[in-house]
Amino acid sequence: MLDTDSLVVHLRNSIREQHLQQKCESLRTSRRKGGDRGGEGGGGRGGRDEEGPESEDSTDSIHDTVTKKLLLQHNMLLSLPFEITRFSSLVSLDLSNNNLTHVNDFLLQLPDLQALYLQNNNLADDGLPKELHTLTKLRELNLSGNKLTRVLPQLCEVVGLRYLYLGGNEITEILPEIKALQSLQVLHLGGNLLETVPDELGELHQLAALILCDNRLRSLPRVISNLTRLRSLLLHKNNLCCLPVCIVKLRGLAELSLRDNPLVTRFVNSCAREIMYNTPSLLELAARVIKLKKLPYTSEDLPRNLVHYLSSGQRCVNPKCKGMYFTSCVEHIKFVDFCGMYRLPLMHYLCSSRCSSKTPDYYRALSESDSEEDEPAARMKRVLLG
């Protein structure tokens, strides 16, 4: 187990050895090829190779340009030694399970760094370099098991990031700036203190895994259904009562965990019907009839605010009902089978509290074909049971 000082000694020795090896290699090659410089990996900086490796001065300026991975996990490092920057071709740096309270800015001098592992250290919000975006090749960053309280702004600037692990911190908010991480495939935020997540999460279109388990989430934004590439959604151990109905759009979802949430009970369901309904206004009723009977109108016939109102109508989710509603609807929680494996309580909006599959408010004749407008209803029909 190394502390920072011991590590410095080890690194210096390693760089010196690597340099010697390269010197021998290039000498051998030059003998063979009559002075031609061969060998892989380059020979360090500029004319450095001509200098003798024994002198202390040269040791400070030679680089190891061969080593790609540095494994320094499970040590007792309190800080990073500057010697790290001598490994100028480093692609992967593992500093997990140490005692780091901060990561020095000189880490940014590793231009080829693609993966940085910092899990299980003591990093707080001010412990990371501010200009993290200078690591343009960074694809994977693991900051789990630290003391972060937010998804830091500098993280949102590393736009090439594919895998971001922030589990087991004390994070209470996700900045909307996160939408800049357009290449993100895995976002791990399990074991934090999140009560909500921003709509901007729905813009991370490459996301395949979203881990939000063990937080304090009360609801999920509807835009989660925009994450068409999502394969894994871990929501267990939160405060969710139900899910937005559009979640059934996530056809690629292979893994959905919902346990340890106060998901809706029978009692709450019957209560909801009474409490949530507000009597429709005359405006609403008139609009419903216009839409139901498909009465033609143009923007010249009506004032702009009415045209806008009419276009804000929503389809009643009951597939047997062709009714629409505007502002007056009933929040109804229905259990829905999903992918043959899960039964989810989903928040539906029905056009009235009487509307049900047996007695729809606005009966749709069986002969009416499914137009494009009817697509969402048709999809719900496939998914609803009985």
């Binding site: 087991g168 895995v186 074991g191 894994s232 965990s257 346990r259 029978r266 259990f335 494996m341």
Partner: protein, 210 residues
């Protein structure tokens, strides 16, 4: 057993060697197998080559096929990875934690699905019943079979990987998985991420249990 001294299990290969001897006969001495699994002290140098992780879910990596009598495999769990609730297809299952931490939650078998024609919304009545849970430490061994119930295994850490060693006898290629809220049972094939240290090329490894 004869009065000879109990074998020394220093490496994973030692363990495998002893397992072959134990499973040579038809009877399985559960206590003795438990002892063997416990005696082996986890050494990453032994099993590193089987430890292949996936970002999305835990992986099953076959170590030894035990002449068809048993399967020995390494399971690799990323942070927060969980299994479904599953049975063990009438087989013995021994599980040993080699690195990190794992939590096991045991459940009663749900009531038979018989008369469930009316799928109403009152699913609360069919919630699966937990009968116990335990946190495993490195080198702990636990045993389960269908008569003891069903279980779910999960990596409770959000920042650390876990690795476990699993022994099944006889080997099985499919089992049942259960929805915790309804007890609904489905069949699920069981596949390997890698075999003998080599990644298996499958179109879509949809296995849900360990």
């Amino acid at each position: 057993m004869e009065t000879s001294a109990l074998p020394q299990i220093n490496t994973l290969d030692d363990l495998i060697g002893e397992l072959y001897k134990v499973f040579d006969g038809d009877e399985v001495n559960v206590d003795y197998v438990n002892y063997l699994m416990s005696s082996y002290k986890s050494n990453p140098l032994d099993w590193k080559k089987f430890a292949k992780f996936d970002r999305y879910r835990y992986t099953r990596n076959l170590i030894d096929e035990g002449n068809g009598k048993f399967n020995l495999m390494l399971l690799c769990w990323g942070a927060s990875h969980t299994s479904t609730i599953h049975d063990h297809a009438d087989a013995h299952c021994f599980m040993k934690l080699l690195a990190g931490s794992l939590q096991e939650v045991r459940f009663e078998w749900p009531a038979e699905e018989g008369n469930r024609t009316d799928r109403s919304e009152e699913d609360q009545d069919r919630l699966m019943v937990e009968i116990g849970r335990g946190e495993m430490k490195v080198n702990d061994v636990c045993y389960i079979n269908d008569s003891l119930g069903l279980h779910r295994v999960e990596n409770p850490s959000h920042s650390e990987n876990a690795v476990s060693l699993h022994l099944y006898c006889p080997p099985f290629s499919s089992c049942s998985i259960f929805d915790e809220r309804t007890g609904k049972r489905s069949k699920c094939p069981v596949t390997f991420w890698s075999k003998f240290g080599e990644r298996v090329d499958l179109k879509k490894p949809k296995s849900c249990c360990d």
